[in-house]
Symmetry: C2
Subunit: 405 residues, 2 copies
């Protein structure tokens, strides 16, 4: 990370200038301690906006509605609810997404096409519009409201996940903040996650979308909690220009700095999601080096981090490297068994394809740390990639075998 | 199933005429109650043989060796061991595979190219050749030895999985038997499974391979325990002609009967594997109908049966149909949300894409049965497919977080 990018203590989505947020409890979320379940986020100025959405063919009307508004180019606010996904409820789903946006727009004094709608929770249940209508006016938007908004989007998450960084753009200082939810149904290609990013930098819109896609590809899309992709994934980035810089365009030094800040925030949030995966006891980091290409490295890293057997071994602090190799072998990445090297938390345990003697107790001991890292060197080329996931514990099953009933 | 195909009570791989088998304990398996770990299977006559092998790029030299022998066209015997996979042990792996085949060939009075070698167990450990050399002569081959062989190939399986059927070929009666192991690392495209099939029918070799591929595609390749594909999967089918029929050729009525018998045996063994999946409490059956094509139906069924969230819901007897739809949506199969219907154990709970009221307690009660079935009708065309898997339980994690250590 370049020196000029610095984390802000206690940073969140309202840390950048010109953003307000707030949240309330409307009565949609029953299964979490933290009862906030309806949040508003708004820029005080018009924004450039960028977004990425679930690749699932079953998708929430909240997602469809937000994609349509993003295309119109006027987005600057978000209304988000947790507890109910507004998915597979027929025509009513789009009616309710529109209705929720209209209520939020009225409250914020904006046009309905300036408001994104994001929902997360149980599938097949309609949004309780009466509750939303009654509760929305209770939301007070403040410059400190980011933390409440970050709590309002949580479902089975155990804690809010927020961050902000600052960086210099010529003689201006800009800030980029973000928050995310997502504890289950998390898998490469945008998982059950809602992620909101805000910046007071001015950014040219085409570059904003391109930078967001690149940042997601090396962070959220390299993350796997359980292999399931949600129907409601949404990642939104608003840039309101309150920092006063000239709009950032592709290919400039400012673009490089901005991309680095964006990557930093996205990787930080992705790792926080992995750490807070359902029932996760440990963060799992897979690094693949020496692949024929970055794409091959990505395939290998994603396959290994998604393996139930690797994840269960990490839960048990078991340096069971055979499972890592079996996952590598089915990933489709080109390998030469005789050239493989594997490191567990930097201790080499496989060299030239063969187990090398290691002190098992000390490797097991390092695997008891909160973060376990497998680094695999294919020794075939210059491709590399990182992926993140979590251990698979008995608690994941307990959480997921009693969710709706 | 045609009337002429009948299950044989207590049937196994030595039920067909002219096959002998036996097993012993060589000292390779430490983690199972059942201590047999080295088995021999042999046809008393030359055979037509067919085989399918793991698609994993990391593969055991036992697999490589057996593929080479199969290509030579003289296979009629198998030596199989459990406890050690003979995988990722360098040059020694091929030396030991050859050595094991040679020991078995000597014992059986055959050429080394007539013996397949199959290994299953922990990766990265060399075969203990001294133990194998010493133990092999203790194996006594008998016409009743199939049951001992079926036990000798088990690892974390809780029970042997065997079957035999008989069927008429003109005026001759033929028999087809099989046994299988595989409790974890099981996923479409041949999982950690060893499967041995024997028949006394005479079958033309090209047709034998073609029939085996087709049978595997609609049975073992539609099975998922945990999404991991092994390095050692092997499926072998020996046809020795002891029934005295004219060799079966493609396109004849006998070919149809034989294929049906083979499908019956493979589906039976695949379901037995799912039922005995690591920590499995229930067999999960997914049937997808009304897809645009069989291929689309296969994609959908495989994705749903592989979903950790669906499997955890089945473990908890939770009719959480949203997870089935989310898995369907990411499978890549074409869908029209408004046309979807879903049945849980034949109770319709989604119709035209909407939840319909159902008596939850009674659905939950049917989900407590040993077999849970989800039938999904896409209402778009004539494609259909079946897939099998198992519930995901806390016990799966317990088994797999303490395997090598």
């Amino acid at each position: 990370m370049a020196e000029e990018i610095r984390f802000v203590e206690g940073g969140t989505i309202t840390t950048p200038q010109g953003f307000k947020a707030g949240a309330t409890f409307a009565g949609m979320k029953t299964y979490a301690e933290d009862k906030l379940d309806l949040g508003l986020l708004c820029s005080e100025r018009p924004c450039a906006a960028a977004g990425l959405f679930t690749a699932n063919r079953v998708r929430s009307p909240s997602v469809v509605y937000t994609q349509e508004q993003l295309a119109k180019g006027r987005l600057r606010a978000v209304v988000a609810n947790s507890g109910i996904a507004n998915t597979m409820v027929g025509e009513q789903g789009m009616t309710d997404a529109r209705g929720t946006a209209a209520l939020a727009a009225k409250q914020l004094g904006l046009g309905a096409d300036e408001v994104a709608v994001c929902s997360t929770g149980v599938i097949g249940v309609e949004l309780p519009m009466a509750l939303i209508r009654e509760s929305m006016p209770r939301i007070e938007l403040t410059h400190e409201g980011g933390a409440a908004f970050a709590r309002a989007i949580l479902t089975t998450d155990t804690r809010p996940k927020e961050v902000a960084v600052t960086f210099e753009l010529g003689r201006r200082r800009a800030t980029l903040g973000g928050c995310v939810k997502g504890a289950g149904m998390i898998h490469p290609n945008l998982a059950t996650m809602l992620c909101f990013l805000t910046t007071d930098a001015a950014v040219e819109k085409g570059f904003l979308q391109q930078a967001l896609k690149a940042a997601a590809d090396s962070s959220f899309n390299m993350l796997s909690i359980d292999g399931d992709t949600s129907t409601n994934d949404t990642l939104l980035l608003y840039a309101n220009g309150a920092a006063g810089n000239d709009p950032i365009r592709a290919g400039t030094p400012e673009a490089t700095t901005f991309k680095e800040a964006l990557d930093t925030v996205c990787v930080h949030l992705a790792k926080e999601m992995a750490r807070d995966g359902e029932g996760a006891s440990r963060l799992l980091h897979i690094r693949v080096e020496g692949a024929k290409s970055d794409e091959e490295a990505r395939k290998a890293a994603r396959t290994i981090v998604s393996s139930s057997l690797v994840k269960a071994a990490v839960h048990g602090s078991d340096p069971n490297w055979g499972r890592v190799m079996a996952a590598l072998g089915r990933s489709g990445a080109e390998i030469d068994e005789k050239k493989l090297a594997l490191y567990v938390n930097d201790v080499c345990i496989v060299w030239e394809g063969l187990a090398i003697p290691f002190h098992k107790d000390s490797v097991v001991a390092t695997m008891r740390r909160p973060e376990v890292s497998f680094r695999l060197d294919l020794n075939l080329g210059g491709g590399s990639a990182d992926a993140w996931g979590c251990s698979l514990s008995e608690e994941y099953i307990t959480i997921n075998s009693a969710y709706t009933t």
